[in-house]
Symmetry: D2
Subunit: 341 residues, 4 copies
């Protein structure tokens, strides 16, 4: 059965498997100190145009959010996020597990708004009682968001400016970063992100790797003893090579962007197909995740021939579902889908 | 200057100080095993009409919320509370510090609604993805709420029933419980609360004690090794007598209710006074906290002659302030206030 | 029955109760901002001869250890303590509860040794693998120790120097500080402690107060947002006056030292009495706690007429027990004990 | 340069890479629900002869220890381990990070002794003060230990019996389990371990996998909502297939044991070689890690031609170093080493 269930249904891009095989018998040191991690770091720094950046490799998205956020916050601080943010709802309380509150603001289509952040922080410090409250210590945004939407360069700049104004670092969750960068409706580049954020990560798991996320501290601002913090959170991989080799491959010959562009091309075709068939979209997504509203019966029927994700109940008789493309989606998949629809 | 700033501006009810002095030189064992703690427990159980209840004494409100909530939750669980709940906003992230999320629902005037809880929990378990989310493991309500409002018996019963239906314990924060029980507009008794809640506490700090909150586990449901959990959270008082003697006094000859009724009488007079002078109320509070909306200039002027609490900004030119009465408020205070107004 | 069970068997020194009664009806602000907390702070700073010190008041010893230690450590750090240290064994894991490891070194009679600390830290940093280990971030000592023993000024200076050398703060648990300062065999003054330690506390609970410990950050080194950290750990008392008034009283007219000297006088008489009767001492204690070794049968018999503490099993037929004196011990108690023995 | 630095210097066993490549384009569900995870689970249950077991796959050793231990302990409990245990010293405080104390007992050559555990727990419950202490809630052992040593079947049975007697679960860290099972000096089988322990894990990272550990809960005793606990700790891999496929391969045609036996064969040859050359062994290890004592100068010289691990300082002029073999060690490596020596 064809599947648009998620962007992590397949293994890894074949070039990654090739490189793992080629390097397999090399004796390398562990814990991220091997030459492939170093090479990957250099390539990423170059792609970001941030010579003072520092790159660390982690295994998965929730782990990365947990390690980065809890490493950057003082204990009296929490992290500002959209109510719909992944850390707010779908990570099993991983942030609270480390002792920190997620301070939620209502966003729009998964996005935070610079003015809302500004107001929240300003109001906080004006409150005479704020010493009895959780201090805002970090701003978390995802790009693309959980709804596939993107910040424009001006929106991102505005958020970055608010953060600078209040001296609060900005963290961008890029679990699907490639699909954001490759979107046809974006004016945001990797270099913009590296300039505007204090820390962000380049998602591997959902963009062609077996696993892995590359965290970029953009200006010599890695938390002190970050390796120990990773270890303490169970997040330091013994065979760091597994991550280094994958990211080295993804950042060689522009593979990361090539993969991402392919997924976007597939997504645009999927969108046309669905629009052509009269399907109703929940929102306009410029990336690889497309959300449509189905009648419940229609959904059950469709589910017999194609895999997609249940997203959320829309009303008593309708449901929002997600179709995702990825590096592994093929024209053949789309043709099959067309038949099914 | 007269003060309506809070209900903890004075020391303790004189009878408490007397009893502390009378018992001062008795040699007693520590950590809550002394005879006064036992006597206080018996009196509270009787007042609650719960022979199987177990009572523990803690020092303050935030501590009590932290100890009780973190002791009752499994690690994958969070606590449902109103967005305005004290644990959500004004306890410095004390719940998150213990690793748990506060799951917020919008309430009305500080109160949760049974149906909202039911919907939240039902939706949670219907979500195919709920294993990636924080499980609802406890419901937290305050009575009186942070806005001085009260649950009616039917509202409380409805919440209790929803909790039973979903097998989620109900915890009532009674930091100001006396002022709720003594309200002229309540149909809820201490025995009702003890019947409808799984755990609640009887506030001492704000109702005539120097410090102290009496936690009642209503049906033999004290968390295992609760003493160790208190110790582990820094909440086990060496001289437990300080709490036992105070609560023994408060529950002798109905002192707790007498104190509370006095505060309510003062509050009702305060309300009449303010209404008579044409002040605008933010909401209708049936307890000892009264919230009024002042023009900002009017507020500054008034603040020169009487102490009250800044509550929150209402709009650019108005502010919500709180006047609180307590066991220590006198007719003289009200006369002075009348002059000032 | 006479009791030498602990130094917290009685209420408070009568002067404290008097002052609580005298100030009872004053309207004061909460959370430690009242004038009595300020007055107490000033008197303590003066007694310590540390004009740049900052004083905070907490309720109990375990709470104070937990709040201070967890507030001073980075998350990748642990606290060095003696294996017998109170935080290592008798606080229910309160330090670990906040995420930090207690790094134990074997001490002698409850005391750490400067050289052992030096070696431990030096070895740690020489270990190529130390990034996978918990960093030593604080040194914890108690004075008097859990065995009633004391550091000499030269021992304390040596530890302080090792700490400075490695840039690790020194924290002294003074739950029984008065009894150490008033010992006839000490050359350590309060001012020495304030000079040699980065943070320490002056115990109230065991030295005449109903409750309360005064934490002294000796050189403008209070952790950032310490009030919020206290709140977050459930340790910020609403009626801070209760602590302020008590410490203001204890530091007026030298009451703290007077109380302590009395307890030491009683302890010296107790020691003579026990020695005279041929009792075997577990160790030589210069303070208010005396440890003797009893045959098990002898212990059971004695326990029928006098309260003391079981300390630990010595061998199959002998047990170590503790007799403690305090401000509340009387000559009469000693006469009674003499009869019993 | 030849390397005996660790057992994780190479990538994965070639058969694993092959299977990853073969299955790469299959569309599979995430988070461990795919068919390969299920197949691997079935094979492991069969190899363990435990039809009621449940198997979960995690990424690395420290993560596994952290997730399993913190999921099995009540909050007032700690875990008993040898002072030299990996969780005690080399995991950056990962257990304490989750709020739990590691209760250390001195072991012998990395091994705990049944009688010591029995005594510790018995003494704990006999201590009248144990409610102020951390309860022993789990016993952690490693097999092979950090020193390469092994428990005999009778030692393991004795520990298991002590645990059952006190109703404390037994957890075995099998990060190098294969090398223990394949040792020529063991009488312990995988089935013995599955019978004697409540939970253990089969190490993949150090025994031929790119990453991965298979946790076996042996008798239907998986902690409630374990998936959520994994997620909450950042330990739930999106592409669970990566772990499922690897363990399915390792448990097909006995590959896991074949790999392990090869490493042991290499280790035995290495041992002969070193003994033949007169090297001094720190202890007698029957597994793939060999510890020898070198003069410091000799060590520096040797380090120029062969990689090994610094273990610990032996005395001022000698150092303990470790040589490890693994599935990837070749006869050629040994010949090269012989030349160098």
């Amino acid at each position: 059965m064809i599947s648009f269930e998620s962007d992590y249904i397949a293994g890894a891009h074949p070039k990654i498997l090739e490189r793992l095989a080629e390097t397999n018998m090399e004796a390398l040191v562990g814990y991220g100190d091997d030459k492939y991690c170093q090479m990957a770091e250099e390539k990423i720094k170059k792609a970001c145009n941030r010579p003072n950046a520092k790159v660390h490799f982690l295994v998965g998205g929730t782990q990365t959010n947990q390690v980065v956020i809890s490493s950057m916050l003082a204990d009296y601080e929490g992290v500002i996020a959209a109510t719909s943010g992944h850390i707010s709802v779908h990570e099993g309380g991983a942030i609270e597990f480390t002792g920190h509150k997620v301070l939620t603001l209502n966003g729009t289509d998964g996005k935070l708004n610079a003015q809302d952040i500004d107001e929240y922080v300003t109001t906080f410090y004006n409150d005479g009682n704020h010493e009895h409250m959780v201090f805002p210590g970090l701003v978390y945004i995802s790009h693309p968001t959980e709804y596939g939407t993107l910040y424009s360069k001006s929106e991102l700049t505005a958020i970055s400016n608010v953060c600078k104004k209040h001296n609060i670092p900005l963290f961008l969750d890029g679990a699907r970063l490639g699909y954001g960068l490759a979107s046809r409706q974006t004016d945001v580049t990797l270099q913009d992100i590296a300039e505007l954020c204090d820390v962000f990560y380049i998602g591997g798991t959902k963009v062609g790797a077996l696993c892995g996320e590359a965290v970029v501290f953009t200006h010599n601002n890695t938390p002190k003893h970050f390796i120990t913090k990773m270890k303490q959170r169970g997040a330091l991989l013994a065979k760091g090579r597994l991550l280094g080799i994958q990211f080295d491959t993804l950042f060689t010959d522009n593979l990361y962007m090539e993969i991402s562009r392919h997924a976007i091309e597939m997504a645009e075709k999927l969108k046309s197909l669905l629009k052509g068939k009269g399907y109703r979209f929940y929102l306009e997504s410029p990336t690889n995740q497309q959300f449509i509203i189905l009648e419940n019966e229609q959904m059950s029927e469709l589910a017999q021939n194609v895999c997609f994700s249940f997203w959320e109940k829309h009303d008593d008789s309708h449901t929002i579902v997600r179709f995702a493309t990825s590096w592994s989606t093929t024209e053949e998949d789309l043709r099959e889908l067309e038949k099914v629809l």
